[in-house]
């Protein structure tokens, strides 16, 4: 359904580019409804997501275990390309998923770890404690984050780890302005 025939596609050629327009191939799925329409697809989806939440703890444990395994491989083999990429992907997945799973502090720590992996000029020279503290903190949050009173602890832990990592990155990238800019720049993408 999505593809228009070539006859529907209009091309205007300019000196440096072509502008290609076509009738909206998805227009048929748009339906006008009245103001009284009660259908709430977003609410329905949020309810469905809440229905999955019983599995989030187990999922998060799997993600944390993957991160620990990736770091163990780094400790054994060093920062080979494969080991480095797997450690980054494991941390990156936690950065993206953990807040959805109810572990926002783990997401913050995972983001901090991703930044270290991405911006440290030489991973072999990064103090190993910087990695182990990140990995261990995520394990601790995932396995002990069942009580409300631990939330403030995990929040403070994530804040301090991020601060230490940022100080380190700012120091080792002091002569690498493109990395410094990326480290200091805020996210520009809205979540919603």
């Amino acid at each position: 359904m999505a593809k228009n025939s070539p006859r529907d596609i209009e091309v205007k050629a300019f000196a440096t580019h072509q502008l290609i327009t076509q009738p909206n191939p998805l227009r048929k799925v748009l339906r006008r409804v009245g103001e009284k329409d009660m259908d709430d697809p977003v609410g329905r989806a949020e309810q469905a997501l809440a229905g999955l939440s019983g599995e989030f703890k187990d999922w998060m444990a799997v993600e944390a275990g993957r991160l620990a395994a990736a770091y163990a491989a780094v400790q054994t083999d060093g920062f080979t390309r494969e080991a480095r990429d797997e450690l980054f992907r494991a941390a990156h997945d936690i950065k993206g998923d953990a807040a959805t799973f109810g572990y926002p502090s783990a997401a913050v720590i995972a983001e901090s770890l991703c930044r270290v992996i991405e911006h440290a000029p030489d991973l072999a020279r990064v103090p190993s404690e910087l990695f182990s503290h990140h990995v261990n903190a995520i394990q601790a949050i995932v396995h002990e984050n069942t009580k409300l009173d631990s939330l403030s602890v995990s929040s403070e832990l994530s804040r301090r780890l991020r601060s230490v990592a940022d100080d380190y990155l700012a120091h080792v990238n002091r002569d690498r302005p493109e990395h410094l800019e990326a480290i200091l720049a805020p996210s520009i993408v809205p979540g919603e």
């Binding site: 205007k12 050629a13 000196a15 076509q22 799925v29 009245g34 329905r44 989806a45 807040a99």
Partner: protein, 181 residues
């Protein structure tokens, strides 16, 4: 007010993380979608893209071997036999400006930063369905117009020339397409 008939849309979801695929599937089915195809890497997604001809592609960025960026670049091949125009929503943990620019230059239509929300995903889908942008083809780019709006106060260099008065007469893709039929 408009609603989307999700049951008429075909989705392709590409993410190497099974948990995220499950969440995406759950959200899309809750919106009303029936056809949701899933791939765990870019290469499989590209095969499924050719086979199922999805209306909308939702892809993660960071995946082993063949990532979401490469998937977008492979889909946005103007001379390919497949559909190079399908909306691509990149769902990713990357949210730095540099990354967004790279994704935009690969032909990604919409960018949605994780953590995912039902509202955020719905709005991106609504946007690509209701407000498709024209495509631009240059020597180095093929994809949705990267200018989402125009500003009369813009003071920088004009990178596109010939917008109004320097239109060159040259065979268009349409003419080429017609002549090949």
């Amino acid at each position: 007010m408009f609603r989307i008939d999700f049951n008429k849309l075909r989705f392709l979801v590409c993410d190497d993380n099974p948990h995220m695929r499950r969440i995406l599937r759950t959200l899309l089915h809750s919106f009303g979608a029936r056809e949701v195809y899933e791939a765990e890497d870019g290469a499989t997604a590209l095969e499924m893209y050719s086979h199922y001809v999805p209306d909308i592609v939702i892809t993660d960025w960071a995946m082993p071997i063949f990532d979401g960026l490469e998937l977008a670049q492979m889909i946005r091949q103007p001379e390919s036999k497949g559909n190079p125009y399908a909306p691509i929503i990149m769902l990713t943990g990357h949210s730095e400006k540099r990354r967004v620019t790279v994704a935009r230059d690969a032909g990604v239509t919409e960018f949605l930063a994780k953590p995912i929300s039902a509202k955020g995903l719905y709005q991106r889908i609504l946007n690509v369905v209701a407000n498709p942008r024209p495509f631009i083809k240059t020597k180095t780019y093929f994809g949705p117009d990267r200018r989402r709006n125009t500003s009369s106060a813009y003071m920088g260099p004009e990178r596109r020339v010939g917008e109004k008065h320097e239109v060159l007469q040259q065979p268009s893709l349409l003419d080429k397409a017609r002549s090949s039929i």
